[in-house]
């Protein structure tokens, strides 16, 4: 059934920072060139490890003083939100700030600030008199979204969604739902991660046997490769402007793509291990809601992080979901930027959006020897793949505690 234009949701602006890129154009160029943004990070207690660090103009939209007071996640969020609005050409003449919602997905928040503060009071014999009064406003879970509203004077709703590494997709879905309900007229939604500041996140993955190691950092993130040995942790952020189609058309907005379908489900099984059959169900549910068959999908952006079992589970789910789909191509964005946690889903979707206009599938990099258990028809490896057209992207994003999210975005075609 054809939806009315007031129920169709379109992406009209993208603001991002990723390892190696601080704009969508730069990000896309890196992905097509197979260029890794991964470097190394010397982190307290952990020593040197591969990591994805973002370099962007931190004072483009607010003062150093505000960056110092806020959180790193807030700093990334403010940059991405302003970039997205600028990209969309939205100046708040078209939309009321009170009818604008900010919805950000987070894997976690407050870990970095808490670790830093414990380290700070360790220098004062753990006397809590030296614990900062900034701790609570920095660590409340709405912090990154709230920092956006303060920066931009947005008086509509703002909150964050905790959905482990499925959070970026979850926030995108939340924004679309709020637009369809008429709760807001403009949604700034996306995902943010500051987790490279936390030794605990690195240490926990290491203890789990899931932290990537490689003497050459740009080779460390290697989903589907036989020698993969875990996750490369990255910081990053991506914010989309989401609008109802009728409003977007009215103001003559540039349209990156239309949100066609989505789904979120739960494995209900394990704290950390993923489960392919439930991932398959999630992809099928998103396709059904989009009114599409699997063969209608041109590109599948995999969630795969480079862990032994995680990659195999997802590949199995994809092989079953897309069996016989000879015109579906599969890539992995984490091989270039690592795992940006709460930002991963939206950053990776953003990296694929330009395919609707340039008709390339960006490649998975670092596959020297493909793990046979990760073999998939249509896997694009090493070099970008040129197509005559790209109709739809299916974006997988999964997380701990067994949360799966799938978003389907299709090329915009006016009805």
């Amino acid at each position: 059934m054809q939806q009315s234009d007031s129920q169709r949701i379109v992406i009209t602006g993208v603001g991002l920072t990723a390892p190696g890129a601080s704009s969508l154009d730069q990000f896309r160029a890196n992905l097509l060139a197979g260029k890794s943004g991964i470097t190394t990070l010397d982190l307290r207690y952990m020593g040197v490890h591969p990591a994805g660090i973002c370099t962007f103009d931190e004072t483009k939209y607010r003062k150093k003083k505000e960056n110092k007071r806020g959180s790193r996640a807030g700093c990334i969020s403010v940059y991405c939100a302003n970039e997205a609005l600028g990209d969309a050409g939205i100046t708040f003449d078209e939309y009321d700030r009170s009818a604008t919602g900010v919805y950000l997905g987070l894997t976690e928040h407050g870990t970095v600030e808490t670790e830093n503060e414990v380290y700070n009071i360790s220098k004062f014999d753990y006397n809590v008199d030296y614990w900062t009064h900034h701790h609570n406003p920095r660590t409340v879970l709405n912090n990154p979204a709230g920092e956006i509203t303060m920066n931009l004077g947005i008086t509509g709703p703002h909150y964050t969604i905790g959905a482990a590494c499925a959070a970026g997709n979850a926030a995108l879905i939340q924004g679309a739902q709020m637009l369809r309900l008429g709760e807001v007229d403009l949604a700034l939604c996306g995902g943010i991660s500051e987790c490279t500041g936390s030794f605990g996140i690195f240490a926990s993955f290491k203890s789990q046997g899931a932290l990537a190691e490689h003497p050459d950092p740009i080779r460390a993130s290697r989903p589907f490769d036989m020698e993969r040995n875990g996750i490369v942790i990255s910081e990053g952020g991506c914010v989309f402007t989401l609008e109802r189609l009728d409003n977007a058309l009215k103001r003559g907005a540039k349209i990156y793509g239309e949100l066609a379908g989505y789904a979120i489900n739960s494995d209900a099984r394990d704290f950390v291990l993923p489960y392919g059959p439930r991932q398959q169900q999630c992809m099928e549910m998103a396709l059904k809601r989009a009114g599409m068959d699997a063969s209608d999908i041109t590109i599948v952006n995999t969630h795969a992080t480079g862990t032994r079992q995680g990659d195999v589970e997802e590949c199995s789910a994809i092989r079953k979901t897309f069996a016989g789909c000879t015109s579906t191509y599969i890539n992995n964005t984490k091989s270039s930027i690592g795992h940006a946690m709460g930002a991963a889903g939206v950053l990776e979707l953003a990296g694929n959006l330009p395919s609707f206009t340039d008709n390339y599938v960006h490649p998975t990099i670092n596959i020297d020897q493909l793990d046979p258990d990760c073999a998939m028809q249509g896997l694009v490896s090493g070099e970008p793949h040129k197509l005559s057209r790209v109709d739809a992207v299916l974006n997988n994003s999964f997380g701990m505690l067994g949360i799966n999210s799938v978003v389907v975005v299709k090329s915009f075609v006016a009805s």
Binding site: K64, Y130, P137
Partner: protein, 83 residues
């Protein structure tokens, strides 16, 4: 510490909070918050920094003593005479 040194410490702490702070036309007898981009959280940063640097515990009811640069120096001079 001399009065001049105490004044320099206060300005240094404020500059650390906001490196864009302008001190050229600062009226030492007028409230700092009226002249600089400082709010209550920044003010608490000044209190915290004095605690860290000089182990000074400033009771909350004495915070008003830190309102202006001159009152800061007056209040801190006896406390920091041996610092």
């Amino acid at each position: 510490m001399t009065r001049e040194e105490i004044k320099d410490v206060i300005l240094e702490i404020i500059e650390d909070i906001d490196e864009d702070a302008e001190f050229d036309n600062l009226d030492a007898d007028a409230p700092l918050r009226d002249q600089l981009d400082l709010d209550s959280m920044d003010f608490l940063d000044i209190v915290m920094e004095l605690r860290k640097r000089y182990q000074l515990q400033i009771p909350e009811d004495e915070y008003p003593e830190l309102a202006s640069l001159t009152s800061c120096v007056n209040y801190l001079e006896p406390k920091l005479k041996d610092a």
